[in-house]
């Protein structure tokens, strides 16, 4: 069942909006399954830049602090500084 979605886009290819919408309508359950199981060779991506960054960034380090009252800069260094900051700098350099 999962194989049915594999042909939608190759690496680096972003499908047209109507393709993605059709995918979502036709097999949302499969999409959820792919997100959960993360099978080798395929990856769920997003046409929204911020969501795509979340989908392609790694998971937090196993030894990072998980308390909600603490920002873990180790995690941020790998995750936020290298991903979000680029967008931020780009935006604010322009303004």
């Amino acid at each position: 069942m999962l194989l049915g979605l594999l042909g939608i886009a190759g690496a680096g290819q972003v499908p047209a909006a109507h393709d993605a919408a059709a995918t979502q309508r036709s097999d949302e359950t499969t999409l959820k399954q792919l997100l959960k199981e993360r099978p080798a060779g395929v990856q769920v991506r997003s046409r929204h830049a911020a969501l795509d960054r979340l989908l392609t960034a790694g998971d937090p380090a196993a030894d990072s602090g998980h308390d909600k009252t603490v920002f873990d800069k180790e995690y941020d260094k790998a995750y936020n500084r290298e991903i979000y900051s680029k967008t931020y700098e780009k935006t604010y350099q322009k303004s």
Binding site: L6, I8, A9, G10, A11, G12, Q13, V14, D19, A20, A21, T23, Q24, L31, K32, L34, L35, K36, R38, A40, G41, V42, Q43, V44, R45, S46, R47, H48, A49, A50, L51, L54, L55, D59, P60, A62, D63, S64, G65, H66, D67, K68, T69, V70, F71, D72, K73, E74, Y75, D76, N80, Y84, S85, K86, T87, Y88, E89, K90, T91, Y92
Partner: protein, 366 residues
């Protein structure tokens, strides 16, 4: 589970009087030493050394917390950081340090100390001046916004960009918070925390607030590089990724807390359930850090974080939500055997996040 993260209550008191503070809801915290007892500090360092060596840890995170941790004082903080550096040298374990502060006591000397010791800083700020001063007041009832913003300026002067923590005001306007943080103060990463509450509290719905916050972030602020950790985690959990905090997502609680008298406890926010939910018989003066896992209160909290109630087990958002934040599941009658007090709101949020995210998703070959 080997502990890799310790919340150290450097002070059991605070210099301000926030209306929603979880810590002082349990009045028994006033029985604790005002600041970390010197003999506890010495023993903690000894225990930490043993812990890091025994478990051959590559890194260990110590989070300085309170009350207000800066009440600990500069001299003792400087000495503590030096002693932690010794532990680091002797064990080969990297000791990462962070501090969560209201910022009022920060001056140049403090900032330099934090910078030199490599301590990450998290600052509490609740949005605009009006939003902040409505709830984060000193003991004279005066707002603290100006002083916190001054502290932010001092940190930035030293090259420290702190993480910012705000607590959601469910009846407030997310637009105002976003404008205050991202537009006026240039803050690019922050968290908006769900107010701490149990089933013993009457809580306003958080759904409308966070739905609006999410839409504003997704449609505008995310594209400007702004990160809101709660939304990040809501999305990550919805999209099958791991959350970076215990506030959301299925998984065991891993926070270990040490009070100023050396008592070892699970999650400190469990204090909102009253001391009985968190209090253990274990103390760093007599026990190794890892031993607290034998304590009934710790075991109950840990097992509850993995064994959700029947409602959660039947829920489509089981994995993404994980029952919500553990303290929010507490009731006097059923203890942790409940969904979150925010259950309906969280379900609504997960549905909304999926509805907004799903149309943008596609499958790619790697």
């Amino acid at each position: 589970m080997v502990f890799r993260f310790l919340l150290v209550k450097l002070a059991a008191r605070c210099n301000i009087n926030c209306s929603y503070c979880y810590w002082f809801r349990d009045r028994s915290v006033y029985d604790l030493p005002k600041v970390l007892a010197p003999e506890v500090e010495t023993k903690l360092l000894e225990r930490l050394k043993t812990h890091c060596s025994r478990h051959r840890l590559a890194s260990f995170c110590v989070a300085f917390h309170g009350g207000e941790p800066l009440l600990f004082g500069k001299a003792r903080m400087r000495a503590l950081c030096a002693r932690l550096a010794e532990v680091e040298r002797e064990t080969g374990t990297r000791i990462r340090k962070s501090i969560t502060t209201n910022g009022l006591l920060l001056d140049r000397e403090w900032v330099e100390l934090l910078r030199e010791s490599g301590t990450s800083v998290t600052l509490s700020l609740d949005g605009s001046r009006a939003q902040h001063d409505a709830r984060r007041v000193d003991f004279r009832g005066e707002g603290t916004y100006e002083r916190v913003v001054a502290a932010l300026g001092l940190l930035r002067t030293a090259g420290i960009e702190p993480g910012i923590l705000a607590v959601c005001d469910p009846l407030g306007r997310p637009e105002e918070l976003l404008a205050a943080f991202a537009d006026r103060l240039g803050i690019r990463e922050f968290d908006v925390l769900v107010p701490d509450a149990t089933h013993e509290d009457r809580v306003p719905s958080i759904r409308a607030y966070f739905t609006r916050l999410f839409d504003l972030w997704l449609d505008e602020y995310s594209q400007r590089g702004v990160r809101i950790r709660f939304l990040d985690n809501l999305l990550r959990a919805s999209l099958g990724r791991e959350s970076s905090t215990e506030a959301i997502g299925y998984g065991p609680i891993s926070t270990l807390t040490m009070l100023s008298d050396g008592s070892l406890e699970p999650l400190d926010v469990l204090r909102i359930a009253g001391g009985a939910a968190a209090r253990s018989a274990y103390n760093v003066l007599e026990h190794e850090l890892q031993e607290v896992q034998h304590d009934p209160a710790w075991r109950e909290a840990h097992q509850a974080s993995l064994n959700l109630c029947a409602t959660c087990n039947a829920c489509e958002f089981h994995d993404a939500c994980g029952g919500g934040y553990l303290p929010s599941r507490w009731s006097a009658a059923r203890r942790y055997d409940n969904p979150s007090v925010y259950c309906e709101d969280l379900k609504g949020l997960f549905r909304h996040v999926w509805q907004r995210a799903a149309p943008t998703l596609y499958v790619a070959r790697q």
